[in-house]
């Protein structure tokens, strides 16, 4: 049975990668680096930010995107206590659970789903979500360039594609892209932080098609 409420099950695309991470400004450098890496390797980054249809419930949107993606990258580094509310943010573990549930209980086409868990520390998960032990868990140490290497290595291993560039090459391209982004945004009369996810995605793919 499809997880979403539509009558036709969504088709899982082998080049779609679901990005499950925080979207606050402080995380933006990490988010941009992960999205850039996914596109650099010939995949398409998908996340809940791409949807603008207010008529659809947020959770239904996320379920549908998860169902369409073969790969999932889940960054749990922001699961920390909020200074004001003293409560942790549970959106990332929830979406991670949905991804695992889709793989486990979805139709046969969902069997091939693979996911990566990223965190700031390799063993922090043991203190708050130890049941995920056995999953592919890697640490980015809060460093976007380390995340680039981890995402690249994991996608190389799980997708079994052979024409992958090396991590150092992606990092070099990412630095150049970061350097070019302000000028691109000036030409668009926008501030870099005001780019929507879909416009960022288009900017990255156009840049990669002409600058790798």
């Amino acid at each position: 049975m499809p997880m979403h409420s539509g009558l036709v099950p969504a088709r899982t695309q082998s080049n779609y990668v679901f990005i499950n991470c925080p979207f606050d400004p402080g995380y933006r450098p990490m988010f941009n680096a992960i999205v850039f890496t996914v596109h650099h390797l010939g995949f398409v980054a998908r996340c809940s930010l791409e949807e603008d249809d207010a008529a659809e419930f947020r959770l239904s949107k996320i379920e549908r995107i998860i169902e369409e993606c073969r790969f999932g990258i889940n960054d749990l580094s922001a699961v920390t206590l909020d200074a004001t509310t003293r409560l942790p943010r549970f959106n990332m573990p929830l979406e991670f659970g949905l991804f695992l549930g889709c793989k486990r209980f979805g139709p046969k086409s969902q069997d091939k789903k693979r996911c990566l868990v990223l965190d700031s520390d390799p063993y922090r998960y043991r203190t708050f979500i130890s049941d995920i032990s056995g999953q592919d868990i890697r640490s980015h140490d809060g460093n976007p360039e380390r995340a680039i290497r981890e995402v690249r290595d994991w996608l190389r291993l799980t997708s079994k594609r052979t024409t992958f560039p090396g991590g150092a090459e992606i990092i070099k391209d990412y630095r150049q892209f970061k350097n070019d982004l302000p000028a691109i945004c000036t030409a668009l009369a926008l501030e870099p932080d005001r780019l929507t996810f879909l416009d960022l995605s288009k900017t990255i793919t156009d840049w990669l098609r002409s600058s790798r």
């Binding site: 791409e50 560039p165 929507t196 995605s201």
Partner: protein
């Protein structure tokens, strides 16, 4: 090392340029493209991009590199507008690199 071979017209001359390397010039677009294809086929990995006047991509080819996939949905900004903005920045960078490479060649 940059793997993109840029094919573009500058001052009415067709140019093939890879960043950090000297540009090659040709009388026609066909000659420039054919030269880029020969280099691309020989390289371990390469992509060829033919730029229009505003820097936008008119044509591209990939050799032993992942093919860049576009997102299935469109954003708020027009695709052409983003392509032109990226194209302008890439062409500015290429022209600056061409000047640097030429200066280095003369110095040698």
């Amino acid at each position: 090392m940059a793997k993109t071979l840029h094919v573009y017209s500058f001052n009415h001359v067709w140019t093939v340029k890879r960043e950090g390397h000297r540009a090659q010039t040709f009388e026609t677009k066909q000659e420039a493209f054919a030269s880029a294809v020969r280099s691309g086929r020989k390289a371990k990995a390469a992509q060829i991009v033919v730029h229009g006047k505003d820097g936008r991509i008119l044509e591209s080819r990939t050799y032993r590199m992942p093919i860049i996939q576009q997102h299935p949905k469109k954003g708020r900004l027009a695709s052409k507008k983003i392509a032109a903005a990226v194209g302008k920045v890439v062409m500015d960078r290429l022209h600056a690199d061409a000047l640097r490479t030429r200066a280095r060649t003369y110095a040698e």
